[in-house]
């Protein structure tokens, strides 16, 4: 089989499924994994697809808004997003954090509203830009290659100058004792500045993350006005939070 034939087949496959595993291509093309790897690498070099560990993804898709059907616990996050949107009203100035939960919220915000939204997440920004009446303010900084999120000193400085009605944030970990925490120092710093800038902070968090903590604390629970999970506020998983000065939804 000609190399260009293989390339064609690979591109078709990527186009169709948005992503392929190298092993699948090995089967499909009857060549060694090394050949497939080299093919994919070459196509990546020509910007016809994007090579990732173990496979390849299509470019349009590599725009990195994570593929919706691959988001972990999507249903829970949609549910959280719905509740969160119930707290927003037209004309406000809000902040949306990165992460798939906030991305889901950005997707679900009513397109017919007029809203000014700050964010430091490229996927969130791209989602919001689809809504013609929104003003999207991007907080610049050093972009993280993994999350496509602006962080670092520049970002923190910009946040320090802001005054927001409401900030919707995610977190890596949260429990009643330690508050919010992160596994990455930079991320924790961002959350801190964010919470400073907002009159009211709303934490969006799937119940799975509740009652866990990690090394870098970003904020104590008393700075959080509202905690939204996909569970009912009375759910037993949330019992550690039910007696706090915290609006549980």
């Amino acid at each position: 089989m000609l190399k260009s034939e293989r390339h064609q087949i690979i591109l078709k496959e990527v186009e169709k499924r948005n992503r392929v595993q190298l092993q699948d291509l090995v089967q499909r093309l009857n060549v060694s994994i090394d050949t497939v790897r080299r093919d994919v690498k070459e196509l990546d070099g020509e910007h016809k697809l994007r090579k990732v560990h173990g496979g390849a993804v299509s470019l349009g898709f590599a725009s990195f808004s994570p593929q919706r059907n691959s988001i972990y616990a999507l249903e829970a996050k949609t549910h959280i997003a719905e509740k969160a949107i119930g707290m927003v009203s037209e004309g406000q100035v809000i902040f949306l954090d990165g992460g798939t939960t906030c991305l889901e919220m950005a997707r679900s915000l009513p397109a017919e509203w007029e809203l000014k939204v700050f964010t430091h997440s490229i996927p969130v920004a791209l989602e919001l830009l689809q809504k013609p009446r929104y003003t999207v303010e991007f907080i610049g900084g050093t972009l993280s290659p993994e999350s496509h999120l602006a962080q670092g000193i520049a970002a923190v400085r910009q946040l320090a100058e802001l005054h927001l009605d409401m900030a919707f944030i995610g977190t890596g970990y949260v429990d009643a004792e330690h508050g919010l925490s992160e596994s990455v120092w930079e991320t924790a710093q961002m959350k801190k500045s964010l919470i400073e800038a907002a009159r009211k902070t709303v934490l969006l968090c799937i119940s799975e993350k509740v009652n866990s903590h990690h090394r870098f604390r970003s904020c104590s629970l008393d700075r959080i006005a509202t905690l939204i999970t996909e569970k009912d506020p009375g759910d037993s998983e949330l019992k550690n939070f039910q007696n706090l000065q915290l609006d549980l939804r």
Copy 2:
């Protein structure tokens, strides 16, 4: 068998199957591999097919570019990008403007380099983030829904604090008399701040835009160190620029 006969058969085969292997043609035509090779090479020279290692493919078959094929004057822009990259060296701190020419430059920058790149364009940033050794610094601001570019006061203020080795910028319009100009006021303001922040400004511009101007002037030509077009520096289209204090490439 006549040569033209063989050519006909080869082209038919390519048309029918989109691809052929030279060895199959050897069988089919009863001639040596060298002859087939020479035939195919000749047809490639006449742009009737594309020769690849081990065979040939039909012209339509080889090209496959879902997004990029919609870029206007892509070839010229690629050419410009190549010239521009020749001016960059590893370890520098540079700025990349938005626009398809700069995007093409971002694509073509060597992935193995280590480089810190500032930009205010989301597409450019996403492209650069694919290169693992690059540091991408995003200039935040109000995002334009059309161009996915950060602009406005916040962006200008961030630019004012920067000191860059080199800025690669595009422009809406340029001529020898009026310098650089834009049709949108906001854009012109951005370019102004940009040029202030850079020790050296390089203008990337397809020749088509040369010798045109519009309402909002962003910069006079003496602030531009280098002008890169896809044409030869001696080309008559550029005659108005050849006597200026301007590095023409």
